[in-house]
Structures are given as C-alpha cells and as structure tokens.
Symmetry: C2
Subunit: 203 residues, 2 copies
C-alpha cells in the first residue's frame, strides 16, 4: 500500500511487491481505480505547496504551484493518465485544492467562479501532464505525433486553407511555453468570465 518506485501501478505488481496474491489487495481497496486514487494522493504529497506562499503576483504564484503539480504527475506517466479518470480525495489533494482556492481568493475571484475555475485549472494541468507524459512513455506515440506533424504540413490549401495558411505556426513553441500560456489564458479567462449560474449541487 505504501510501496513506492512504481512505474506501472497494477494490482498484480503491487501484490508481488508485498509477497502475496493479488486477491489480498481487495481487502484494502475495492478496485483498480481506488488503488490509483490512493497512490496518486500519496504522490501529491510531493507538490511544492510553498510555491503558493512565495513572492510575486498571485497569478505568478498560482502558475508556479500548478507547474509543480504538473511536474509531479509528469514523473509518473501512468498515474497522470489515471488522474483524469480517478479523482483522488485524500488529504494531499485537499491541500492542493485549498492552496489554489486561497490564491484565487487573494486575486479577488468571486467564490462561484473560483469553484468552477479550480476544476478548469486542475483539469488542464492534469490533462497536459497525461498527454505529454505519454510521449516519453511509449515510443509509438512519437510516431503518432510525427504523423500529425506530417498531416498538418501536407494539408491541401483547397480543402484545409486555414491549416495550410498557418503552416508551422500550428506546431510552434515548446511544451513548457504552451503550458505556461495555457495557464495565463485560463487565469485571465476566469477573472473575466461571467459569474456561473448558481444551481444547487447535482445530487
């Protein structure tokens, strides 16, 4: 349960590490999703929450905090992908949520927008980590990306004029630059967006 050094977190692998059969894990956890969520929450302990308290504008600090979160996920590709589906609900995750909310509050973002914006920011960070981390993981995704690059370059000006016109601009920038730019877009969008409708919680 508290094993580390996990590249691909699976029931059987973990069971083996604990010198037992895979069935035994079902005493502590109901299924793989719950296992992922638990391991993920442990991992979130590595997020540098102090980035929220450092110097600088609240936006800068928010970006630094979220970047730390991305870095942590990035180091564990399998969990990054799991994080999108199996949301953790442990103490470390709550700490991260708290820190993000505190920064949004400091920036004067009203509560409804902060609530929805929180999800947007974390989802973007998680998806970016998952997407990009897969690249380094399996060699095949490299080929996928190459195929997309070629497809965009070879776009016919007749059928896809916009793509052809933009050309290499579509592929410009590094992953880091794009990540940072995305955070800026989200933050400025959240502060500018209309207040969301105030419906009662779903269930």
């Amino acid at each position: 349960m508290r094993a580390e050094g996990l590249e691909r977190v699976t029931m059987r692998r973990l069971a083996q590490e604990l010198d037992t059969g895979p069935a035994s894990l079902y005493v502590y956890v109901r299924n793989t999703a719950e296992l992922h969520a638990a391991v993920l929450d442990r991992l979130l302990g590595e997020v540098d929450l102090s980035a929220a308290g450092a110097e600088g504008d609240w936006r800068e600090r928010l970006v630094r905090l979220l970047t730390s979160y991305v870095d942590v996920l990035f180091a564990h590709p399998a969990l990054a992908r799991a994080a999108l589906v199996a949301r953790p609900s442990g103490e470390h995750y709550l700490d991260l949520v708290e820190a993000v909310l505190a920064l949004l509050a400091e920036g004067g973002v009203p509560s409804a927008r902060a609530s929805w914006g929180l999800d947007l920011l974390l989802q973007y960070a998680t998806a970016s980590a998952a997407e990009h981390s897969a690249q380094g993981q399996a060699p095949q995704t490299k080929d996928d990306w190459d195929a997309l690059t070629r497809a965009l370059r070879d776009a016919s000006p007749d059928r896809h004029p916009q793509i052809a016109a933009l050309g290499t601009t579509l592929l410009s920038g590094t992953g880091e630059e794009r990540l940072a730019w995305g955070f800026q877009v989200l933050i400025s969008g959240i502060t500018a967006a209309p207040e969301p409708p105030t419906t009662p919680p779903t269930p």
Copy 2:
C-alpha cells in the same frame, strides 16, 4: 478495420469480429495506439461541422461545434480516453481543426494565438469527455466521486478554510453548465491573452 458498434476497442475483439487471429491486425496497424487513432478518426466523421456555419456569433458557433465534438466522444467512452493520448491525424480530424481555425480567424484572433488556442480548446473538450464519460462507464468512478464529495463537505475549517467556506458551491452546476462555462473562459482568455512567443517548431 471499418467495423463499428465498438464499446471497448481491443485488438482481440476486433480480430474476432473479423474472424481471424489478433496477429493479422498488425499488418494494417503497428500497435493499439495506432488502432485507436484510426477508429477515432472514423468516429470524428460524426461531428456536426455544419454547426460552424449556422447562425449566431462566432463564439456561439464555436461552442456548438466543440459541443458536438464532445457529444461524439461522449458516446464512446473508451475512445474518449484514448483520444487524449493517441492524437488522430486523419481527414476527419483535419476537418475539425480547419473548422475551429476558421471560426477563430472570423473572430479576428491572430494566427499564433489561434494555433495555441486550438489545442487548448480541443484538449479541454477531449479531457471533459474522457473525464465525464468514465463516470457512466464503470460504477466504481461513481464511488470515487462520492468520496470526493464527502471529503469536500467534511473539510475542516481549520486545515482547509477555503474549502469549508465555499461548501456546496464547489460542487454546484451540471456537467453541461460547467462545460459551456469552460468554453467561454477559454474563448475569452484566448482573445485577451498576450501573443505567444514565436519560436520555431520544436524539431
């Protein structure tokens, strides 16, 4: 290869449908990721591109187009999750990209911001579909969400004052409302964001 009615797209399932062994598929496709990308692109043929040409503000039409994309992914949960990792590069995907870019151009978004914004919009749409579609798929994710709900409600005002203060606001709204709000945030953020740095394409 052109089989449909697929809930979980796997090599073996598809091979069985084609009355052959799984090894045979490797003649047409190098691995599962490539298979997913191919099937996904076929699926994207169902996206309602005419939403881009309908009446209304370019923002409204963009949201309608992206919502159609989400709906299509939503109907095929397994592929939605695959879409984040295995980017398709087929004709249907290019058509979608073209349509989004055309709307951004109509809105007067400069090309560099449109290029990066495109990725942001599609990534958000894809991640939302993947995240939400998993909910309906496996019953366990429901429990995960319940656990998170409980964790947020029970947040201690001492350790997590922001969470406690927001209370049910954190969980307010339906999936549709949040999706639409997210699109608005992204669009307004993209139009307001600074021009990204103009670095040459990575390699």
